[in-house]
C-alpha cells in the first residue's frame, strides 16, 4: 500500500489483499458485448441475456441519480472498472476445496468459524462469484432454497423469471440498471410456506482485486407465514484507486411472512457503495432492514419497504459511521400503500474527523392507505467540530388519517460524560468508545451476538488514535 493510501484510510484491519488469481478476467470498461459475454459465460437462458442487454442500454442513457449525494458520483470512472472477474472455477461445498489463497482470506475474516458456531448457511463471494456455499441439511430437508444467484438461475429458473426485477426494475435508477446488466453472484433464497428458519443465514462479500466492480444480485422470497433472518457482511482491501460495489437486493414477504435483512458494511475507504435495497410486504407481513454502514468512501443506500398489503409492517434500523474522507448518505424509504400499515424508522449516525453523514428519508402515504402509523427517529452524534451531519426527510402524505411522528436530534459528546468515565479509570479513547458503542446500542442489540461484539470492537478500534 502506498503511504498516501495508508494515510487516507487509517487503520482499516481488513485492508490486506491477496495476490490476484483470476481464472477469467474481463478487460476494463463496459459495452453490450461485455454484457453478452458475461451472460454467455454463465450459460444463461436467453431471456436473462435480453434483460441484461435492455438494462445496459438503459444504463447508458440514464442520467445519474438526483436523490442522494450526487455530486460525489462524478468521481466514478466507469471505463476503469473491471466488470467481471472469476477467481475460482466452481462453487465449493467444503472449505477444503476452496483455493488456498481465497480460503485463507475467509479464514482471516472468521467466516468458517462463524458458520460452525451459529449459522444456518453460508455463501462466500469473492470478486464476481461465490466460491463457497453451504446450507444445513435440516433446512434443505424442509425445502428451503439457499443458493448463490447464479446457481439459483440454473436450478430454479422458473422462480427467478417470475420474481427477478419485480421489486426493483432495471429502470429504477442508473445503478439498478448497471446491476441488472452485469450482475453476478449474490444470494437466492426461497422459504416455503410456514417454515421458520431459526438460525440466520449469512452471505459474505469480499472484493480483492483493484478497480473491481462487484454487482451481486440478491432475491429473497419468504412464502406465506414463513420467516428468515439473512445477514450480510462485506470488506475489501485498501487500494489507492477506487472500486465500485453496486448491488441490488429484492425481498418479497408473502402474507404473514417475516424477513429480516441485517448488514454490517465495512468496505475499505476506497469503495463506492451504491446499493438499491427494497422489500415488498404483503398482507400482515413484516420486512426489517438492520443496516450498518461503517466503511466505504461514499455510501448511498436507502433500504426501502413497499407496504402493499393491509396490516403490513416495516422496521428499518440503520447506523452510519463517517470518518475522515467518508460520506455516509444513508436513510430509509417506506411507502404505505395499504390501510393499517405501520412502520418504524430509527437512524443513528456518527461523524468524526471531518466525516459526513446524512439521513435521507422518504415516507409516503397514499390516499387509500387509511389508518397508517409511522415513527421516524434520527439521532446524530458529532465527535468534533470539523464533522458534518444533515437530515433530509421527505414526506408525501396523501391520507389525513395517518398517525406520523418524526423526531430528530444532533448531539455532541459532552465533557461531563468523558470526565465521568475517565474518573472510573478509562482513558479518553476508551471513554469515547463506550459513548459511541452506547449510542449505537439500539442497532447492535438487533444483531446476532457475534456480529454485535465484532461491531463494538470495530468501533473501539476506530476511536483509537482519534483523540487530539
Amino acid at each position: 500500500m502506498t503511504q498516501d493510501a495508508q494515510d487516507a484510510v487509517g487503520d482499516y484491519k481488513y485492508g490486506f489483499h491477496d495476490p490476484e488469481s483470476a481464472t477469467i478476467r474481463f478487460d476494463k470498461g463496459l459495452s453490450e458485448q461485455v454484457v453478452r459475454d458475461i451472460s454467455e459465460l454463465k450459460e444463461e437462458p436467453e431471456w436473462m441475456t435480453e434483460i441484461r442487454v435492455k438494462a445496459y442500454h438503459h444504463f447508458m442513457e440514464r442520467e445519474m441519480p438526483t436523490w442522494g449525494n450526487c455530486d460525489s458520483l462524478a468521481g466514478i470512472d466507469f471505463d476503469n472498472v473491471t466488470y467481471f472477474l472469476r477467481s475460482s472455477d466452481k462453487t465449493e461445498k467444503d472449505w477444503d476445496d476452496v483455493p488456498d489463497d481465497i480460503k485463507r482470506t475467509f479464514d482471516r475474516l472468521g467466516i468458517p468459524e462463524a458458520e460452525q458456531k451459529w449459522l444456518g448457511g453460508v455463501t462466500a463471494q469473492y470478486e464476481s462469484e461465490a466460491v463457497y456455499h453451504s446450507i444445513r441439511e435440516d433446512l434443505e430437508e424442509q425445502g428451503v432454497l439457499f443458493l448463490d444467484m447464479d446457481s439459483g438461475l440454473k436450478e430454479h429458473p422458473e422462480i427467478i423469471k417470475k420474481y427477478f426485477g419485480t421489486v426493483i426494475p432495471h429502470s429504477d435508477n442508473k445503478f439498478s440498471a448497471l446491476n441488472t446488466a452485469v450482475w453476478s453472484g449474490g444470494s437466492f433464497i426461497y422459504v416455503p410456506k410456514g417454515v421458520h428458519v431459526e438460525m440466520p443465514v449469512q452471505a459474505y462479500f469480499r472484493i480483492n482485486a483493484k478497480n473491481m466492480g462487484q454487482f451481486e444480485r440478491t432475491l429473497i422470497i419468504a412464502d406465506e407465514g414463513s420467516s428468515i433472518h439473512y445477514v450480510e457482511g462485506c470488506t475489501a482491501p485498501t487500494y489507492s484507486t477506487d472500486s465500485l460495489h453496486s448491488a441490488v437486493v429484492e425481498l418479497i414477504a408473502m402474507e404473514g411472512a417475516k424477513i429480516r435483512y441485517s448488514t454490517v458494511q465495512n468496505w475499505s475507504a476506497n469503495v463506492y457503495n451504491l446499493v438499491t435495497k427494497r422489500g415488498v410486504a404483503h398482507k400482515n407481513a413484516t420486512v426489517e432492514w438492520v443496516d450498518g454502514n461503517i466503511g466505504s468512501k461514499l455510501t448511498m443506500k436507502y433500504p426501502a419497504v413497499l407496504l402493499k398489503g393491509e396490516g403490513a409492517h416495516a422496521e428499518i434500523i440503520s447506523v452510519a459511521y463517517a470518518g475522515e474522507g467518508q460520506h455516509q448518505d444513508a436513510g430509509a424509504k417506506v411507502h404505505h400503500l395499504a390501510p393499517n400499515t405501520t412502520s418504524n424508522i430509527l437512524s443513528k449516525s456518527i461523524s468524526k474527523n471531518g466525516g459526513r453523514s446524512s439521513y435521507r428519508g422518504m415516507l409516503q402515504v397514499t390516499p387509500k392507505a387509511a389508518g397508517c402509523r409511522s415513527k421516524v427517529v434520527c439521532d446524530a452524534l458529532m465527535l468534533d467540530e470539523d464533522s458534518r451531519s444533515d437530515t433530509y426527510p421527505t414526506m408525501e402524505i396523501g391520507n389525513s388519517t395517518a398517525d406520523l411522528e418524526h423526531e430528530a436530534s444532533v448531539s455532541k459528546v459532552s465533557s461531563d460524560q468523558l470526565f465521568y468515565l475517565m474518573s472510573r479509570g478509562h482513558t479518553e479513547e476508551e471513554a469515547m468508545g463506550m459513548i459511541v458503542n452506547g449510542f449505537f446500542e439500539p442497532f447492535t442489540r438487533e444483531l446476532p451476538m457475534e456480529y454485535a461484539v465484532e461491531l463494538n470492537r470495530l468501533l473501539e478500534l476506530e476511536m483509537e488514535g482519534s483523540i487530539g
Binding site: 465521568y420 474518573s423 472510573r424 476508551e430 449510542f439
Partner: protein, 251 residues
C-alpha cells in the same frame, strides 16, 4: 493511625484554582489520612465541588498556584484515569448519563480498568451481588443504561455501588446525601461506613443529617474559596443550629 507518612493520602497546599478568569479556590490547605473522614461544609458557590473536582483532575479547572499531593506524589501531571487507577474516587453530585451502556457491563469494565485486570466473571458476580444487596439495589439495575432516566436517589446509589466495587484509597463524596430520603440516606451512609476504615474520605455536604450517620473526624467550613474554620463534629452541629452568619464574621 500512626504518624507514618504513607498514611497521608491527600495533601493540598495553598491551592488556588480558577475557571477561566474567575478564581474559585483562593488558598486552601488540607491533609487527609487513611481512616479519616473530613466533612467540607459551606454555602452554595463557596468552592466545595470545585475542590473535589480539581483533586480528581477535571480539565475545566486550572490550578493557578499551590500543589496537590496524593500518596506523597505531586499529581499535577496525572490524567483523570491515572488518578482513578491510583485509587482516587469521586462520587458525583450530578453523574453523567451514558445512554446505551448497561450498568453491569460498565461496572465490570470500570473494575477491570481500576484494578488493572479483569476479575473472573464468577468472582465479580459474587462481589457485585453482595454490594448490591448491601445497598438494597434490585438486579434490574444492571441492565439499565448508566444514569439514563435514573432518579436522583438511584444515581447516588449507583455512585456508592461503584465506590464499594472500586475500593478506593481516597473517596471524594460530592453531596452524595442530596436527593435521598431518610431510608436511602441510611443505606448510603452504611455504604460509606463500610469503606471508611481503610479509606480517606472527603464528604461535601450542606446538612448535618448525613454526619449523624457518618461521623467525621474533622469539619471544615468553606467561604469564598477559603477554609475559615476547622473543628470536630461539634462544628457541624453548631452550623446546623446557627447557620453561617457567625462564620461570616470570622472572614
Amino acid at each position: 493511625m500512626g504518624e507514618n507518612m504513607t498514611d497521608v493520602l491527600l495533601r493540598v497546599e495553598n491551592l488556588h484554582v480558577s475557571v477561566g478568569d474567575t478564581p474559585i479556590i483562593q488558598g486552601i490547605s488540607l491533609e487527609i489520612k487513611r481512616g479519616e473522614i473530613h466533612a467540607i461544609m459551606g454555602r452554595n458557590g463557596a468552592g466545595k465541588s470545585t475542590l473535589a473536582n480539581v483533586v480528581m483532575g477535571h480539565p475545566a479547572y486550572e490550578v493557578t498556584s499551590g500543589t496537590i499531593h496524593y500518596k506523597g506524589q505531586n499529581i499535577d501531571d496525572m490524567e483523570v484515569f491515572e488518578r482513578a487507577r491510583a485509587g482516587m474516587f469521586l462520587s458525583f453530585q450530578y453523574p453523567a448519563a451514558i445512554p446505551g451502556d448497561q450498568v453491569g457491563t460498565f461496572l465490570r469494565k470500570s473494575v477491570a480498568s481500576v484494578r488493572g485486570e479483569a476479575p473472573s466473571p464468577r468472582a465479580f458476580r459474587k462481589e457485585l451481588n453482595e454490594a448490591m444487596k448491601q445497598l438494597d439495589m434490585d438486579k434490574s439495575f444492571l441492565s439499565r443504561y448508566v444514569n439514563d432516566g435514573f432518579s436522583g436517589g438511584e444515581k447516588k446509589r449507583l455512585e456508592i455501588l461503584q465506590m464499594l466495587l472500586l475500593q478506593p484509597d481516597l473517596a471524594l463524596l460530592d453531596e452524595t446525601d442530596s436527593g435521598l430520603d431518610i431510608d436511602a440516606l441510611r443505606i448510603v451512609a452504611d455504604g460509606i461506613n463500610a469503606v471508611a476504615e481503610d479509606t480517606g474520605c472527603m464528604i461535601i455536604t450542606h446538612y448535618q443529617r448525613l454526619l449523624d450517620l457518618v461521623r467525621p473526624n474533622f469539619v471544615h467550613v468553606l467561604i469564598d474559596g477559603k477554609i475559615v474554620q476547622s473543628g470536630g463534629p461539634d462544628l457541624a452541629i453548631k452550623l446546623e443550629k446557627e447557620g453561617y452568619d457567625w462564620v461570616d464574621a470570622l472572614v
